[in-house]
Symmetry: C2
Subunit: 423 residues, 2 copies
Amino acid sequence: MHIPMPPEFSKAAAHSAGRQVTIGKHDVAEKDGVFDLSIGLNYGQSIGSAQLLRWVTEHTELVSRPPYADWRCALTIGSTGSLEAAYRMFCDRNRGDSILTEEYSFSTALETAAPLGIKVFGVKIDDEGLIPASMDEILSTWDETARGARKPTVLYTVPSGQNPTGAMQGEQRRRGIYEICRKHDIFIFEDEPYYFLQMQPYTGPNAPALPPPATVEEFLGGLVPTLLSMDVDGRVMRHDSFSKVIVPGSRLGWVTASEQVIERYIRHAECCSQGPSGFSQLITYKLVDEEWGHEGYLKWLMNLRLEYTKRRNAILAACEKFLPREVVSWTPPAAGMFLWLKVDHQLHPDAATRCLIDIEQEIFDLCIDKGVLACPGSWFRAEQDKPLSGLFFRTMFASASEEQMAVAIERFGAAVRDSYRMG
Amino acid sequence: MHIPMPPEFSKAAAHSAGRQVTIGKHDVAEKDGVFDLSIGLNYGQSIGSAQLLRWVTEHTELVSRPPYADWRCALTIGSTGSLEAAYRMFCDRNRGDSILTEEYSFSTALETAAPLGIKVFGVKIDDEGLIPASMDEILSTWDETARGARKPTVLYTVPSGQNPTGAMQGEQRRRGIYEICRKHDIFIFEDEPYYFLQMQPYTGPNAPALPPPATVEEFLGGLVPTLLSMDVDGRVMRHDSFSKVIVPGSRLGWVTASEQVIERYIRHAECCSQGPSGFSQLITYKLVDEEWGHEGYLKWLMNLRLEYTKRRNAILAACEKFLPREVVSWTPPAAGMFLWLKVDHQLHPDAATRCLIDIEQEIFDLCIDKGVLACPGSWFRAEQDKPLSGLFFRTMFASASEEQMAVAIERFGAAVRDSYRMG
Ligand SMILES: Cc1ncc(COP(=O)(O)O)c(C=O)c1O
Ligand SMILES: Cc1ncc(COP(=O)(O)O)c(C=O)c1O
């Protein structure tokens, strides 16, 4: 079996593009490798193949070095699937279980909780995401009857480049969140598809860029520590995914948690997914272990960092050029692929007479008329029955070209101006 | 991307072994195909890629031609996953829902139902599998209080080469089962990983073999009709899988049912698996559509038929040679990969003083001592709390060589002789 490198993503990756790697049927028996078709394509363990599992475990050790002995990894069919399993493992509708998350949260995570009958409550956010004090207040004043649910036992959070707000929790913020979780004995689902899309600091439209990390060590040392790395209690289940850093179509990721949690996870996988696709595992293994190794993979991520930095800077430049700064504001994203645009609803000419959701819909429709999709904040509300707290739109800088992004932002600006009758 | 044909399975398949197929990144844009890496490896629809979905739909039309208009297919991550989803769609522990299945049933299916809180009840079986009259009686005399569950609303059945009994429901048997399901308004999960492993009729150790089907049409015409093909009410959800006919590691299959059921299935997949691996879909598509086409795939299945016929005949020959016919009997399997050995417990020297499960364990342990694994019937009981109805052992003729199978059967025979003190 011959596999190509993943679609070349940046010029910097070109050195490894176009190479071919070979996977034979009996490489292992023939002492030509440790993972081959005869192993990868048969029924395997639900935890994943020993080979790729070893690799992700080493990688996790390099990145997070969890501060307790009996942590383990298990391969998954991606974070959507592992998150659904985690909900089912930790929450029970019959017990009235509930979870906390950012007040604007990843819509699929919300849609996954809903059919399981798990109630979701939103925690206030700022530029650094979830606010520990808000979480503490909610938990300290929990009234089961008024809330119609048991006091939450789980926090679902996306610490880096959160979807949809793009917010990045800094190290102190993370430590603060972890402390509140200890105080109220909350288990944490750390969902981190964008962790390795931490970008170069944004220096503004005209200042020179900072030099990128020169070495793999510098790159790793510069990343904000993971919640898993702070987890002295074994209360974190971290969800990693290859979706945003290699290809989403692999449907491949992994979870890391205490041995007890992983054991439950595997039991679940045995009567559900039976582990990820052997093709996906084989191809990914060949790439990240045999072709790249840990250092090569980290270099790949360093390239992604620069690629996303460029894209982020391009969308910010477009915003600065095309958006009416009097009413639209934003925080330059430090990670991920989302830019969250805040529109000052108090300045809207109809602010006194129309409700927010109405104005949001108007701007959304105007955008569609102009040929651009800006996802409205209401789609991401953790509590769908609460009034909106502001006018927000999520934009993305993952795949469009710089020119396309500029056109999109210009159209969004025009839609806002139309709605605000800025002439 | 270059992919090989699947591991060559029989000499008859050798004509296509070793070929290479190429998948490019932008074949579609470059008009060199309809499915490429840029499509297959991105996020896709949870129902599966349009290309492979079209293929499985055409294949289902060829094989089952469901007798109503709005049937649809959806790709799955294999039958274990689709079955788990189906249980969750159709059954609710809070309602006390229950299902029926063969009294000895696929252990993973039982283990999947258990954590969902779904009660499973066994239907009596004979050489042709599930007995409609037994099902009718159970349903007609259902006593909710005595049973501790609502009257079953779902039948889970494996009509062809059932796991573990190897039983094959004939056409009349299937029609009988369907009629009872209509009478009691039972929905059917038709789980058919072994459907295409229907073998040549067994003609005994010495009689000449019958000629195999000469054409694809003859092959298709000779298969026992599917429950789906009889489904005038839309009460069947059929689960197909590539696991037993291409490779299990693909984690790829599909379901077929009414549009309404498939719509629910897709909503489920959207917040769980998000559809099967893009690598698995691409490689399978290249193989079954571009390389083989429908006719080529059916010819592949015809080869499997002969290969399994050979293996089945070999294990039966070993049984005739090595087993003590006074106490061990069997029905030559007509489909699948399992041979179910019945041991006459009434003839056991301790029949009057020891319980069945004890004797079963003894034979199992004796087998292990001699280096052979024979799965005891108790592992497969639909109702684990009921006494065993007989002494059964499941053997398999899927992957061992003829020599290995002979050794295994010889050892099993010796274990039985030891236990029966036939010395
Ligand atoms: C926060 C978050 N988690 C998980 C996912 C999905 O990851 P996967 O492809 O591994 O299921 C996404 C994708 O958009 C996401 O934004
Ligand atoms: C009856 C039956 N259904 C389903 C399966 C599993 O199929 P899949 O690999 O598609 O999950 C098996 C495998 O042993 C089986 O025997």
